[in-house]
Symmetry: C2
């Protein structure tokens, strides 16, 4: 493990002596984020969210991954659907259909408030990060929910049917077209937000957790923000990824199908290889214990399938324990 040097000395996190940063996409990542949120002290967690899925639909600015994390941490998420709000109603969609509006992307009545208010504030010139920080505070979420950047970096999906905007591929076509690659459009013009730069420069940062999100469409867009990967690598805190693949299958979503189409073996170790030298540690499921010997980096074998909130907290606890041991080892050898 390389010795890291924190590149800043700012003590902005003074009232929160321990900070943890989690990188997350939507549902899979949000599960571990919830576990961390419940395990860690208030205000200790920051979740750096993919905004590559963001798009404008019906004139509304929609941030699916940020919203899933927000609703999950606020205790408002719809656990059956895996997105949107619990107890949601659909009068808007029904009325929209009757007047000829597009209905392929479903927006619940309560959920709409977030999109309408975010759109209004963005159009008034506020940044996504400022807006979401205000909203998470209003929903009494004691974790920071950080967009990967305030610029628009839409993920484009290269498929055998041509290049598709992400939500068209993901929702409208239900991930059916075979992918050939991804493009994080306008990524060169993006930059990490002030909040992320400060957090990564803070001595108080204890661990960086890459949640078990889809590496290609949830984590890679975050890492494509110029300077962010280097800033993560330069940070003293260990970077630990939790495998989204268990026993050669993805728990949910198109991760396995994508790996297959990209001619990558569908395995926990292939995900570790994908992240490469970014990682200081890797967490894989007990079902994949036999892969441990093939890994060239410190690892922790534990149960990573999060069915219940207890599972989420237990995994979060394991990951934080692993981070502690990596920090201790780093101090011994640093």
């Amino acid at each position: 493990m390389r010795t890291k040097i924190c590149f800043g000395k700012r003590a902005l996190m003074a009232k929160n002596p321990q900070q943890v940063l989690a990188l997350s996409g939507g549902i899979g990542g949000a599960k571990l984020a919830l576990g961390l949120y419940q395990e860690l002290p208030d205000d200790a967690l920051s979740v750096l969210c993919n905004t590559g899925d963001d798009f404008t639909h019906l004139g509304l600015c929609i941030s699916p991954d940020i919203d899933t994390v927000l609703y999950t941490l606020a205790g408002l998420s719809n656990r059956e659907l895996g997105w949107g709000r619990a107890g949601e109603t659909w009068a808007f969609m029904k009325a929209l259909e009757a007047i000829g509006g597009q209905t392929w992307f479903r927006l619940g009545d309560g959920d709409l408030a977030l999109h309408v208010e975010r759109t209004r504030r963005l159009n008034a010139g506020e940044s996504l990060s400022v807006i979401m920080d205000d909203i998470r505070l209003r929903l009494q979420v004691h974790a920071r929910i950080l967009p990967m950047c305030d610029q628009s970096v839409p993920t484009l999906v290269h498929t055998q049917q041509g290049t598709l905007p992400f939500q068209e591929y993901f929702v409208k076509l239900q991930c059916k077209p075979a992918i050939t690659g991804f493009e994080f459009h306008n990524a060169p013009s993006a930059e990490p937000t002030q909040a992320v730069r400060e957090l990564l420069a803070a001595d108080s940062l204890q661990a960086i957790i890459i949640c078990p999100s889809n590496p290609f469409i949830s984590i890679d867009p975050i890492l494509a923000v110029p300077g962010l990967r280097d800033a993560l690598r330069s940070c003293a805190a260990p970077i630990i990824a939790v495998s989204p693949v268990i026993g050669g299958k993805a728990v949910k979503g198109p991760t396995a199908k994508m790996m297959d189409e990209l001619s990558i073996p569908v395995s926990a170790s292939a995900v570790a290889e994908h992240y490469g030298d970014l990682l200081d540690g890797y967490v894989l499921d007990t079902e994949d214990a036999m892969l441990a010997d093939s890994l060239s980096l410190p690892h922790r074998i534990t149960s990573t399938w999060m069915r219940t909130d207890e599972d989420k907290r237990a995994l979060a606890s394991d990951v934080m324990d692993f981070a502690g041991s990596l920090r201790a080892s780093q101090q011994q050898h640093g």
Copy 2:
């Protein structure tokens, strides 16, 4: 009664041999519009709606009077509230409040579809008249719902507390400030739409009905569109207003309060005077029969209070009968 000459000979309304144009604001006007809609053959009615109340709220383009007429004719209106949709739910407003959004102007979940879709289409460059014509057709409304113009002509309310945007005066401050006058902002830049110009030029136009809407904030904005008052006057069809004042009181809304504040007697005859030489006939309630002698124009005394749908149809029938007698008299003396 002056003799009118139709200034165009276009026969665009060929498939609808009889055309009736109703000028309307929101709830009061929509009641008579519904009566006319039910009494007249399909496609015979056009409702020219006030858009002076229109405003942008939460980033959404809202057209209260058009929407009230639309929902009323589509059988979707909320008769308890007097605005919005029947069976409306309020999950959006509740969620909006939780994230700090403005809630003084209430938008129901189903109603939102109209505002979101209209806003999207306006921002894509379509005109309000084209959008609303498409939507009324989708809702199977066999009457045309015509905005008074496609330009923004926001009503400003001059009050003793200063000048207020209309909805701030009307909804937020519940018409409490004493008014001193009205301003139809940007009216000089507006123009009647193609559909209105064609209708007013059509030989098939049988009657123009000014619904019992508020003269100052519902009808005057329509008449302030340059060329529209003259086009109405030049039209062969008789123009008939139905009094919004019965027995010195307005059935609903701030009409009486406004007349009082403007030092105008609160009476049916004062409303007729307000419209002046625009009118060919006037309909007033039986309760105001004693005022008939003071009117200098043809009039019809009937029950104008529309409590039930039967009342609405009966009044519509009376008004159409009155229009027929005015046309006959016009042909005799023309």
